[in-house]
Every structure is written in C-alpha cells, then in structure tokens.
C-alpha cells in the first residue's frame, strides 16, 4: 500500500467528477430529487376522498348524518345531487370516488325506532383505497348509530347521556399510536427514502466512473502502471464514498427540516451506519463495473439490480415481516432491509446499538464481502 498512489488516484477521480457538470449534477442532485419526488409521491395516506351525496329525505336527521361525512378530513365534499343516475356519471368520470345516498323517510323511520338503510357507492378500482374508504364510512356510520342509540336509551330510561353511552358501548377502545404518533406515512416513508437514494445513486456513480475508464481506454494507464489493485480500488472508490456520505447528510437534513420527520435516535449511530451502508452500495457498483464494459450496460444492470429489490424487499413500502416466506429470504439477501431497520429505528424509535447491532454487522459483512469479491475479480492483465 502506497499512500501517494492512492492519493493520486483519488484526487484525479475527484477532479474529474467535479469538473464534469453532468456527472456532478448526477452525484448530488439525483438523491435529493428522488427523495422529493417519492417523499410526495409515495404518500399512502387515504385522505380527501372526493364525495358526493344524494339526500332524498331533506330532514334534520339526514342533514346531520351527511354533515358528519362532508366535514370529515377524510372526505372532500364535491356537491349534493338529486339522483343516483347523476351520481353514476360522477363516479364514471372519476370526479367522485364515493357516493352516499340517504333514502326518503330516513329521519321518520329512525325517529319511529325502525331501521334505516343508507346506500354507499364506492369506486372499487383501487382495492386498497376502497377498503380504507369503506372503513371510514363504517366508522362514521357506527359513531352516529351509537349516538342515536345512546340518545334513545337516555330518553327512555331517563339517564344522562354519559350513562347511556356506557350502557350502550360497554367496551371502549383506547388506541395510542407509538413511534409515528400521528400515523403519517411521510414519517415512515421519508427515512426509508434515505435508504432508497443511497442504494441507487452510489452504485450508479461508482459503476459509471469505473466503466468510463474502461470505455475510453484510460484503464490501461492503471493496468500498465505499478499501482496495486488495492491502491487503485481504494483511491477510485474514496471520492464516491465521500460524495455518497455527504449525500446521506443532505438527505438527513432534507428529512428533518423539509419533511419535518422527527429524529429521535443517536446522530452518531446514524452517521456510522450510513457510512457502512455507503461502503456497501458503492461495493455493488464496483462489482457491476468489473463485469461489464460499456456505460450503458453498467447503467441498466445497476438500475435493475438496485431498484427492484429495493422497492420490493427492503421494507420501503411493505414491511419485511409481512412478506411471504420466500420473499423474506430474498429480503435478507439484499442490504437495503438492514439499513431500513437502522434508519427507521434511529428516526422514529430512537433505538441504539443494543437493538441495531445485528443490522450493522450484516451491512459491514456485506461491504467486506463485496470488496473481497471485487478484488478477486479485478485483474490488471485481462483476457481481452
């Protein structure tokens, strides 16, 4: 190991990266861009469902009933219609995703102690959203039913409203959401997006940086010189690791300041594990670059290798624990999952090394293994 040679390679690489405008843009803008795009795009909260209502009853009770839907933050009230056929048109054009139809004599029947039927039409094209919408409708409906029942009990038994409520609903559910107290999907997604960006950009940069030399032929300067394999790989990777580490910091700032995600854990732990993760992901790029000879091939292979497993198996969208057993095995084979555990852990749960050590160890092993394989694959005297 000769430090001067490593420095020469690293400095040359750094200068080239900084002077190549497009490459520089790619290096620093891409991760931030991904976080912004996905941070807003991957929000899975179902809110503001466009809603229209058909009130055939026009009684005080029907107005009160519909009021609870139109004023909820889950629904966006788009208007009152006179017939179901009209509502059909709204659903077809997608201007409304849910319709509530209150039949005639709704108030009269309720006051008479008879059951009333309310028709709800929900757009089923997105099953996940449909289920959630149905859940909202059920919840609002049962809340009102419960109140009506309590009112009735209070009136007939001569009890207070509170007593009647206890009687009608003896078990009350108290839910406290832990870690992500407001159950905002941004809080869950944005930290994982740090993982996503750091899983994509560093391999891409590294692979392109090395294959570029192969493509132009400047790699022969390395082959034909006395620089050793370790010196070259160390010097070549250092700028990319540094850039990616800076990106980890930028993304952290973006998450905490822009997306306002609370960071509860140890910052030092976050930095350390980010460094290890960046070492892993640049290692993937290195490996790809040794197996292909054109930048286009490097680009495509890195994208395929990094994007799909990261989206599917890293816990970005679906938690690893709810994957099928086969998919869980795959998830454990990709480094994304471990770092997802670490970022979510440090951001939302504030857990420390005592919980995350296994994930960090896995990443460190991954980084070491990738480098070892790359070292074995890299030859200064190739076959062609």
């Amino acid at each position: 190991m000769n430090f001067r040679r490593i420095k020469a390679v690293a400095f040359k690489e750094w200068r080239e990266t900084v002077r190549d405008r497009i490459f520089l843009l790619l290096a620093f803008l891409l991760p931030v861009l991904w976080m912004l795009v996905f941070g807003y795009g991957l929000v899975l909260d179902v809110e503001h469902i466009p809603l229209v209502v058909v009130d055939r009853d026009h009684s005080a009770l029907s107005r009160d009933y519909l009021y609870r839907f139109t004023e909820s933050r889950y629904f966006d009230f788009k208007g009152s219609l006179t017939s179901e056929t009209e509502a059909d048109a709204w659903l077809l054009s997608g201007k409304a995703r849910a319709v509530i139809v209150v039949p005639e004599k709704f108030g009269e029947r309720l006051l008479a102690g008879q059951p009333a039927h309310v028709q709800t039409l929900i757009d089923g094209t997105f099953p996940l959203r449909t289920d959630i919408t149905k859940g909202y409708v059920l919840a609002i409906n049962s809340a009102l039913s419960g109140e009506l029942l309590a009112d009735y009990v209070a009136r007939t038994r001569g009890l207070s409203r509170e007593q009647a409520k206890t009687l009608v609903q003896p078990i009350r559910l108290e839910v406290r959401y832990l870690y992500n107290e407001e159950v905002r999907s941004a809080w869950s997604i944005v930290p994982a997006l740090i993982m996503f960006s750091l899983m994509l950009a560093p391999p891409l940069l590294t692979a392109l940086g090395i294959v570029r030399e192969k493509e132009t032929g400047s790699i022969y300067n390395i082959y034909s010189s006395t620089v050793s394999k370790i010196e070259f790989l160390t010097g070549k990777l250092t700028p990319y690791v540094a850039i990616s580490f800076v990106n980890a910091l930028l993304l952290w700032l973006l998450a905490t300041l822009w997306f306002q995600v609370p960071f509860k854990g140890s910052f030092g732990l976050f930095l350390l594990s980010s460094l290890i993760f960046v070492l892993t992901s640049t290692g993937i790029g290195l490996l790809v670059s040794l197996m292909v000879s054109t930048q286009v091939a490097a680009l495509i292979i890195t994208m395929v290798l990094c994007t799909l497993p990261t989206i599917l198996f890293s816990g970005l969208i679906v938690p690893v624990s709810s994957l099928s057993p086969g998919a869980q095995v795959q998830a454990h084979l990709f480094p994304g999952m471990y770092y997802t555990n670490i970022v979510r852990g440090t951001f939302l749960k504030g857990v420390g090394m005592n919980v995350l050590w296994a994930d960090m160890l896995a990443l460190a092993l991954y980084a070491a293994l990738l480098r070892l394989v790359a070292y074995r694959l890299f030859t200064k005297r190739p076959r062609s």
């Binding site: 000769n2 001067r4 040679r5 420095k7 020469a8 390679v9 400095f11 040359k12 200068r15 080239e16 002077r19 190549d20 132009t216 032929g217 400047s218 022969y220 300067n221 390395i222 082959y223 034909s224 010189s225 006395t226 620089v227 050793s228 030859t379 200064k380 005297r381 190739p382 076959r383 062609s384």
Partner: protein
C-alpha cells in the same frame, strides 16, 4: 548499438479472442536502444501483441519475455511494469479530458512515484520540447489532435521507462504533427537511452524504424531493418504517363500485379532490377500506347509490403466495372467555390477559399487538423451556411439549393456510416430506400454496386463480419446508390490494409475516368493524396498551395531544393548542425537523414564535413524524389515560421 542485447523476446505468440485467432505464431526480438516498428492494417494483431508485452493482456500460447522475466502471470507482469511505459491506441483516449495538461502529467507521474523534484524538472523539459508549455493549464479536451498526441507521449515517458510501448501514436494526426512526434520521440529515446516499440498503420512510416515487423492477419509477413525488408522483394518502380489511361492499365494488369493510377501518372512495380530492361518490358507490354515521362525509382516500402502480401494471398477480385454508357467527355465544372468565408464568432475558420473541380477529376483537400477542411466540405454540402462567398455543386447553388445538392452528391465518412447488423444487400437497399429509388431502379443499382465494388459473394454477409477493406467498399457503394455526380470522401481509407486501399483507389479512378464523377477527398495519408489529379493545401483557413501532385513537388524543388537522403552511422547529433548550416527540411528517418538542397552534388563535401564534426560518418548520400509528405511538411513549416516572425515582429 553493438552491445545491444534483446530486452524483449517473443516466441510463438498466439492470442485468441473466443474462437477468433488474432495473432498466430509471432516471433520477435527487441534490442536495447532501438525503435522497433510493428506495421500492419487494423486487425493485424499489433495491439494484442503490444498489450501482452506491456503485461496488460493474457495470451494463449508461446512465451513473452521482458527484461528477462517470463510474463506468464499477473504477478510476473507486475515485476517489470516500473520499467515500462504503455500508450494505448486511440488519440488522447487514455488521457483525462477534464484535467489540464499539467494535471494529466502530474497524475501519471504520481502513479509512478516519480519524486516531486524530478517531476518538476522533467515536466518543464518535456513541455518545452513539445512546445506545450504555453498550454499547461488548458483542459486536455481543448487540445488539438497533435497536441493530445504529444501530451500522451509525455505522460507515457514521465517516469522515464526503459521500454516505451506506443500503440499507433500517429493515427489521425496530420503529417506535420507526425513528423514533429517522431523527432521528439527520437530525441527522448536518445537522451535517456530508452527503447521503443511503436506500431503504425501508415506504411510510409516504416522508414522511421531501426527494425520492424510487418504484420498481416496475425502473422509476420516480413521483418528486419528497412533495408533488409526492401531486399526481400527486389524490383523497381516505373512511373510514366500513358493515354488512354484506363486502356493502359488494363494492358499492364495482364503482366504486372501492382499497377496504380496516381492522377495522370501510372505507377508500376516490376521485379526487374535493371533500369533499362524494366523500361523495355513496360513499353512492350503497353503495345501501341506510348509511355511518356518515363522514370525509374527504388520502390517504397509500401510497394514491397504489397508485393509480399500478393505473394501470400490470392489476388482479390479486381473491380469488374460494368460498362455503363460512358458519359460523353464532360468537362463542365462539378464543384466551384468562390471566395468562401466562414466565421465562428471572431474566429475565421475559412478565409476566401476558391477552387474548381471538373467532372471526372479527383480533387484532394489537404491540411492539418483544424485547417478548415471539414468546414469547407460542410458548406459545399449545404450543411452549414457560409458567412460570405458563393459555391456551386453539380450545378446547384449551395446557398439556395440545400435539398437539391443532397440529391446530387454522395458522401462517405471516415466512420463508414453503415448499419453493422444488416447484411451487405440490406445496407444497399436501405440506402436506395432513403434516396427514394423505385424497385426496378434499386435492382439495377444493387447489381451495379455489387459488381463495381467487388462485393459479389458477400451479398448476405453481415456487415459487422466484413474485413475493413470490404466494409469500406460497401460504404462507397452506398454513397453511390443514387448515381451522384459529385462524391465527397472524408478520410476514406483509415485502417484499411494496403491491398484493400489500392483496390479502393482503382474503383475511384474508374468512377472518375469512365463515369465522369467528380471526387473530392480529404485525407491525412499522403500516399493517398498522390492519387489525386489536383490538390489544395489549406493552412489557417486559407488555400496556400494548389496544383497537381507533381506540380506541387516541382514548386518545392525550385524553392527549397531536392531531397537528399544521407545514411549516417550516428545521425541524431548532426541534425542541429545541419539546420544551423542553413539546410531546410532536416528530418530523422530511423537511421537516415533527409534534407533539402538546391545543389546536392555541390553541397556533398559540406554535408560530410558537418556530419564528421558531430562524429557521424556519412556512408551514402543520394537524391530521392520528394514525397507529398515532404511537400506538406515543408509548406506548413514555412508558413508557421512566417507566422512566428510576424507575431514576434508585432511584439517587438
């Protein structure tokens, strides 16, 4: 050089790429202190051999020994790398475009652990020697071709290796930069006692080497000193004029294998070694056509290589030109440029350029990189509007008739813009489609192109599998699909083997002579320029010299004198002394010196004296015909000198 020991030994070298055998059984020995040349067309196996010697490529059979170490593993290769410098193929491709000249040098030096004080000293010396010192801080991507080449050389030699391995360092560079390069290389090698292994695709550079191997299809065809190689094929070169030219060629081809038309001249290689009988047999084989201006010369090395190749291989199918109704001798103008000007901002790239090309004429536009050749062609093609002046191509005004011009011209570029995944026939049909030929026209044209370009038998071969020479003829065929009256060729024969190149020029002269097509060529190959009827030399956007190749040579002869070749046992030290004594065009060619003299006989004693003063004994001294390269270099050097005088005059 008496103590010379071999520092590289190659025995039975074989390199395969999957099933393709790139090199099959090459033997080679390089001695300390010499410049060893590997000559051959693209795909001859030069690069594979050089990379294996440099220890950056494995090989399959045989042995490569460098500085006494058998290079059979990565570890063994590492041991000798400190003593080696390797410049891979591709002009400036191994350099870093975004780094400055100085940063590039520094990187190579630090990679090689050159101590900082030595680096500073060498950098200053090398930059001064290559006249790059003014451009220290310029980004490498903004250098001209010649400058990139010199920077590449500095970077390869900055750690002062004992053996420099340079893969095609002169490809794509103009003759002046090329000559400059050879001088610098020779000086560096001499100063430091380095050895060099250099490859080239330019046959006319063979004389630059102390010893050489000529490679073709992975085999050594000939090797030894230039004189030894020359002796392998005894013979003479007979040059004369004969009309009608095409008929004369047809008659000569029945007797001689190497018959070339160079403008109005015919060039025939004969194995006769006596001048009188060589002339005699030529005259008799011509029958009733009388040769005039008969001249006999020693053959060039290129002629020798072609003769050697022809001995080995079957002769390629010669172009059987289907006789289309010969055009009535039409000497109308095909291209006319009148005071063409093109500015890029404040920079004038083309400055009042005027010339005329008649139908049936081959016109060559020469000039260094950046002299303005491409801009002129682009303007004539209607691809770029001129800032001033006018031009007509095939009767159409280039300013107003952009589309009409494109229908009347054919264009073939260096890169042979063919579709490699299509077959030969599919390529031709595609181009016919692009030019809107209907079905019957396409069929006749296809037939014509296949026989004209000697592509029969290749119809359904994939273009990517064709040898370079065949690919080049296909590109020509595609450019001719719409029967253009004017043909533009932009460096058409780079990387093609000498036989293929001659075949190509045979076709061009038939096209010009019999079909009356006007052909305009740009090229860096001076041996190619010899084929033109008329030449124009561009310098800094202007045409500075014009005429037929022989006229241009005569002009230089009257101005600067005849070319004298000296064989000196220690030629290098004499160069400076001869220049100081006022001789023009002094240049080193391997073991020989070239210079220009008005009175070779009268100057002989003086020359011997000067050489003797610098410890060189002149073994022989004789005059040689000027080559076009000599003309080009002389002209450009004179202009550069004037320019320098002017600028220093202004400064003073």
């Amino acid at each position: 050089m008496e103590l010379a020991e071999p520092i590289v030994r190659v025995l039975g070298f074989v390199k395969r790429y999957k099933k393709h055998v790139a090199v099959q059984g090459v033997d080679l020995e390089i001695k300390r202190g010499e410049i060893y040349g590997l000559i051959g067309p693209d795909g001859a196996g030069k690069s594979s051999l050089m990379k294996a010697i440099a220890g950056v490529l494995t090989y399959d059979e045989g042995a490569v020994e460098v500085f006494g170490t058998l290079i059979d593993s990565e570890r063994a290769a590492e041991q000798v790398k400190q003593q080696l410098g390797f410049l891979p193929q591709g002009l400036g491709l191994n350099l870093y475009p975004d780094l400055s000249v100085e940063e590039n040098i520094d990187f190579f030096a630090r990679l090689r652990l050159v101590p900082e004080p030595a680096l500073i000293e060498r950098k200053a010396r090398f930059l001064a020697m290559t006249r790059l010192d003014k451009f220290r801080n310029r980004a490498m991507k903004k250098l001209s071709g010649g400058m990139k080449q010199k920077l590449g050389l500095i970077c390869t030699l900055i750690h002062e290796p004992e053996l420099a391995i340079l893969d095609e360092p002169t490809t794509g560079v103009d003759p002046v930069s090329r000559r400059d390069f050879w001088t610098i290389l020779a000086e560096l090698l001499r100063e430091r006692g380095m050895t060099a292994l250099v490859s080239t695709a330019y046959m006319d550079e063979a004389a630059r080497f102390h010893r050489l191997s000529f490679l073709s299809s992975g085999k050594v065809v000939a090797s030894g000193t230039p004189a030894e190689v020359q002796a392998l094929v005894p013979g003479l070169m007979v040059t004369f004029e004969a009309t009608p030219q095409m008929e004369a060629i047809a008659r000569l081809k029945t007797q001689y294998k190497q018959v070339e038309a160079l403008g109005s001249l015919l060039h025939v290689f004969t194995e006769e070694t006596i001048h009188a009988s060589a002339m005699q047999s030529i005259t008799s084989s011509l029958g009733d056509i009388r040769p005039v201006h008969l001249r006999v010369d020693e053959p060039e090395l290129e002629d020798v290589f072609v003769a050697l190749l022809l001995r080995q291989a079957d002769q390629p199918p010669s172009a059987e030109m289907p006789r289309v109704t010969a055009l009535a001798a039409n000497h109308g103008l095909a291209i006319e440029a009148k005071g063409l000007i093109r500015d890029f901002g404040a920079f004038r790239a083309v400055d009042r350029v005027s010339f005329q090309v008649k139908s049936g004429e081959i016109f060559g536009l020469l000039g260094a990189n950046g002299a303005g050749k491409t801009t002129v062609i682009k303007m004539l093609n209607g691809l770029m509007p001129p800032t001033g002046g006018e031009g007509w191509v095939a009767g159409a005004d280039m300013k107003t008739a952009g589309g009409a011009i494109k229908e009347r011209i054919g264009y073939m570029s260096q890169a042979f813009s063919l579709y490699l995944d299509l077959t030969v026939e599919e390529n031709i049909r595609l181009f016919a489609g692009i030019y809107g030929l209907n079905r019957p026209a396409t069929t006749t044209r296809l037939e014509w192109i296949l026989s004209m370009a000697g592509l029969k038998g290749y119809e359904s071969s994939l273009t990517s599998r064709l040898p370079m020479g065949v690919r080049q003829r296909l590109a020509l065929g595609c450019a001719l699909v719409h029967q253009p009256r004017v043909l533009f060729l932009d460096e058409p024969t780079s990387g093609v083997d000498p036989i293929g190149r001659r075949h190509f020029w045979d076709i061009l002269s038939v096209l010009a002579r019999e079909e009356g097509v006007a052909i305009m060529v740009t090229t860096h190959y001076m041996s190619e320029a010899e084929h033109c009827d008329k030449l124009a030399l561009m310098f800094a956007g202007r045409i500075v010299s014009e005429g037929s190749p022989s006229e241009m040579k005569r002009q230089v002869e009257t101005e600067a004198g005849r070319l004298v070749e000296l064989t000196v046992d220690r030629p290098a030290p004499a160069i400076n002394e001869l220049e100081l004594a006022g001789f023009a065009g002094v240049a080193l060619f391997g073991t020989k010196l070239h210079l220009l003299s008005h009175d070779p006989e009268g100057d002989e004693p003086r020359i011997r004296e000067i050489c003797a003063a610098s410890q060189g004994v002149v073994q022989s001294i004789k005059t040689r015909p000027l080559s076009l390269e000599d003309v080009f270099v002389y002209r450009v050097m004179e202009l550069e000198k004037q320019e320098r005088k002017q600028t220093t005059g202004v400064a003073a």
